[in-house]
């Protein structure tokens, strides 16, 4: 038996091992096999440029529904937009209010901290603009409800943000203006807003506990103040002062902002950035794309055989090139801004929006900067719509026109850096690609979209040699 084991271990198994090596493949062998079977060794890339495409429609969507300002808050205006702030307070202080209600010298103020990390960012040069001086008109309106006990205060916290936002949108309260002279000399100092006498009077009615929902607008300023929100360490404070140095200092437990047009507009093709809920949907005519594909391949497009799914080729990359006219557009930070693209694609029979990937053309970026940015002194904006066109050609038989969506992203600090992300360089320095705060701009795409655009497709062609 031992002899048999020896035979197995030292003869049979090594023999199998050697055979395993003999029965191996090399590149030439696999190549000639694939070739023989009629299978390719790579896919042929072909490019197709479709020129002179005029959008069949361009539609902008702007949502002025309130949104959270717990982190960063904005107050003021930016070009054609106005930004209001809403503060939600809930507090109790029975001792204080017992004297405050009959105090004739009662006063109060609202204190904000500026968003220092924005204003003192090394990438920007705001320090030159100090001091900021202006006669600021603030418009206040509020809803005050009173109650008593901790239970009252706790019950306010039970109101969800979304239900709070939904009621802010339809606020019709009396508006009280205060005009004062604002003078900011340091980004560290508090910004103190006086509050109207009527608000002080109203607060005198509070016996024990209250909920104060306060709205502040600054429609007449041409500045946009960036402030710290309710959930930051530097949250705003509502300071109520009585005589005898008694005071009550309270911070809002949540804040919201509402950005809306100063004047109603129609048929706008303007984007504002700022992370606002807005988008521009551009529609390219189907027929133009299908005709170009038919001429290119000599096949029928759209494909209607069988279940009409066109798997004869695949879009590896698609780029739409829009000639830029930036004359009427304005920004504040003077940095290029990334254009974010998404396409409407089919997902299990439902149309859904898919964010497009961005593949970097390093040589071009080093020479001219990223082609998907505005305010970058480019005469052409190139947007990649690969997922969208891949899906569109795949299912063209039951599709209407091709649609993609654009909106504005973050300002870009390194427009010529192909990294397209933050990184640490060889010297150990952090290189930030995007600026971490939005710019609030006025970017009118209408003049650019009036000119015909170009669509360029990189196609993986599956057709064999005929």
């Amino acid at each position: 038996m031992k002899k048999t084991m020896f035979l197995y271990l030292f003869v049979l198994i090594p023999l199998l091992g050697i055979m395993a090596c003999v029965f191996d493949s090399d590149n030439e062998g696999v190549g000639s096999f694939l070739d023989h079977e009629g299978l390719p060794l790579n896919y042929k890339v072909e490019t197709l440029t479709i020129e002179g495409i005029e959008p069949s429609s361009v539609k902008s969507y702007f949502d002025d529904y309130p949104y959270s300002a717990n982190g960063r808050a904005v107050l003021g205006t930016s070009f054609d937009l106005n930004h209001d702030l809403f503060l939600d307070f809930a507090f109790r202080n029975e001792n204080f209010f017992s004297e405050f209600s009959s105090d004739d010298s009662a006063s109060g103020q609202l204190e904000f901290y500026l968003l220092k990390e924005f204003y003192t960012s090394e990438s920007l040069t705001f320090d030159d603009s100090l001091p900021i001086k202006e006669n600021l008109t603030l418009s206040y309106s509020w809803v005050l409800s009173t109650g008593s006990g901790n239970r009252f205060v706790d019950s306010i916290a039970g109101i969800t943000n979304s239900s709070w936002y939904s009621k802010l949108d339809s606020w019709e309260e009396a508006v009280f203006d205060t005009v004062f002279s604002l003078n900011i000399v340091s980004y560290d100092s508090l910004v103190i807003f006086p509050i109207p006498k009527d608000l002080i009077q109203a607060m005198k009615k509070v016996g024990d506990a209250c909920r104060l929902q306060l709205k502040i607008s600054a429609k007449e300023t041409s500045n946009l103040y960036r402030l710290n929100g309710a959930s930051t360490p530097f949250r705003p404070v509502l300071l109520l002062k009585g005589s005898n140095n008694t005071y009550s200092s309270n911070s809002p437990f949540r804040m919201a902002a509402k950005s809306s047009y100063i004047n109603e507009v129609s048929d706008s093709q303007v984007l504002h950035g700022g992370g606002l809920r807005e988008s521009l949907i551009v529609e390219l005519p189907k027929e133009k794309i299908m005709t170009a594909l038919s001429e290119f391949y000599g096949d029928e497009f759209p494909f209607t055989e069988g279940d009409s799914m066109d798997v004869r080729q695949m879009v590896v990359l698609a780029e739409v090139k829009i000639p830029l006219q930036e004359g009427t557009s304005k920004n504040t930070l003077n940095k290029p801004i990334q254009m974010v693209v998404a396409s409407m694609i089919d997902s299990l029979g439902e149309e859904s929006r898919k964010m497009e990937a961005y593949k970097i053309n390093s040589d071009l970026v080093k020479a001219e900067g990223h082609p998907n940015m505005i305010f970058n002194e480019l005469d052409t904006l190139s947007l990649q719509v690969t997922y969208g066109l891949r899906d569109f050609i795949n299912k063209a038989s039951d599709k209407e026109d091709f649609r993609f969506m654009v909106r504005l992203g973050y300002p870009v600090l390194q427009p010529n850096d192909p990294a397209y992300t933050d990184y640490i360089n060889t010297e150990g320095d952090s290189i930030y690609f995007f600026f971490s705060h939005f710019d609030y701009v006025y970017y009118d795409l209408a003049p650019s979209l009036e000119k015909p655009m170009t669509l360029k497709l990189w196609l993986a062609t599956k057709r064999g040699e005929e």
Partner: protein, 416 residues
């Protein structure tokens, strides 16, 4: 013994895919005779040998002569080398092509359940030549499995004759993935950035079933003589349906919407017969013959690129001869004399047109324990040659290992 199994196990786990590179787009390679290691050892001959325990897919009637409850599982390892024009092409595969359970019920006949991988196309080939911008990975993973309940009974008035049948419920999946790198030779240099690192996969995923029917059937009759046994079997024709989804994809999550395709493969009837003749000293010679008159060419998996649309077929037959010396059943005999020895050879005209296969095998059965539990080892080798240019000739070496477990369940204690 344990060391040997362990070492073989280690060797098998490092190997990858494939059994033959012929007919991958049709049905793939056929594992005949229920893919049992025992019958593979005698060159696929021995379906008529009634004293053999276990299940024969060619001859379900043999089941009636089983004495013990048995379980068998088979493991197959194959290495194939195709003689391509340039370079070398070799593949390896490991599969568990079948397992069976058999329950003899005395005068009520015998019943068995099995799972048999009848056809398989498993291969993975990679080509990476960045100099010529050639990058391709071809992967086939396909199995036509059959779930096979069988029943056989000895005729009550004449125990030398038994009849049996098997229903073959067909199931399984198939997949072909061809992943390709870009060839930028036709685009301008400044445009080549767009497709760098963009691999495109041509993907087909399908499943198997039978048209308009749950199963196909084998019927057999067996005569068990004192020295000679013989069987005849007939298997019904059926139409295989392969429903497929075909698409191009960048990754599994980034695909085109697939187009749905279906192909039908007309599998003809099978006629089989075999003789087993007993010689002195537990020796047997065996002869088997199987015939399958293929008529209709087989549509290929989702015709694309320059693939031909069909795989041409021809009448399939298998002639096999085998020798077996059964091991002694006396536990106190030496291990060598308790071992079973097998040898055989076969000639097979495959279903692929102009392809024939000649092979030989040797087999050993190692007894484990008193009851008759056995490990069967078969080593097969041979050549598949093609008269036409459609296929490359192939050399193959295969190892099959089967475990046959015999249980005393349901048997009366005897000899005590």
């Amino acid at each position: 013994m344990k060391t040997l199994l362990f070492a073989l196990g280690c060797l098998f786990t490092v190997s990858s895919y494939a059994s033959s590179v012929m007919g991958l787009d049709a049905l793939g390679a056929e594992d005949v005779s229920g893919a049992s290691a025992a019958i593979a050892g005698s060159g696929y001959a021995g379906n008529a040998k009634a004293s053999e325990e276990g299940v024969s897919m060619m001859n379900p009637a043999r089941l009636a002569y089983n004495k013990n409850v048995s379980f068998s599982a088979n493991l197959s390892y194959q290495m194939v080398s195709a003689s391509v024009k340039n370079g070398s092409l070799g593949t390896q595969s490991i599969t568990i092509p079948s397992f069976y359970l058999a329950f003899p019920m005395g005068q009520f006949g015998a019943f068995s359940l099995g799972l048999w991988q009848h056809y398989s196309s498993n291969i993975k080939l990679e080509l990476s030549d960045s100099l010529n911008s050639q990058q391709a990975t071809l992967e086939y993973q396909g199995s036509i499995f059959e779930f096979t309940p069988s029943y056989a009974i000895k005729l009550p008035f004449w125990h030398r004759l038994s009849v049996g049948g098997t229903a073959h419920f067909v199931m399984g999946n198939n997949k072909r993935l061809l992943t390709l790198g870009p060839d930028n030779s036709a685009v301008a240099e400044e445009d080549s950035w767009a497709t760098n690192n963009s691999d495109v996969t041509d993907a087909v995923n399908g499943s198997w079933s039978i048209l308009n029917h749950p199963a196909y059937y084998t019927l057999a009759a067996q005569y068990r003589g004192k020295t000679a046994s013989i069987f005849f079997s007939y298997t019904t024709a059926y139409t295989l349906v392969n429903d497929m989804e075909y698409q191009l994809q960048m990754s599994q999550l980034d695909t085109l919407a697939p187009t749905k395709l279906s192909r039908q493969i007309d599998v003809p009837i099978t006629l089989a017969t075999g003789v087993s003749y007993r010689l002195p000293k537990r020796q047997f010679v065996m002869f088997d013959f199987m015939w399958k008159p293929w008529k209709n060419d087989i549509p290929n998996v989702a015709g694309s690129w320059d693939l031909p649309n069909e795989t041409l077929v021809e009448s399939e037959f298998l002639i096999s001869v085998g020798y077996q010396r059964d091991g002694s059943t006396i536990f106190y005999d030496s291990f060598i004399s308790r071992m079973t020895y097998r040898a055989g050879a076969w000639y097979k005209n495959g279903y692929l047109k102009d392809v024939s296969e000649v092979g030989g095998s040797i087999g050993l059965g190692f007894p484990l324990g008193k009851r008759g539990t056995t490990i069967d080892l078969a080593i097969q080798g041979g050549v598949r040659s093609s008269k036409s240019d459609a296929y490359f000739d192939e050399t193959f070496i295969g190892v099959k290992i089967g475990l046959m477990g015999i249980g005393a369940w349901g048997n009366q204690r005897s000899g005590m």
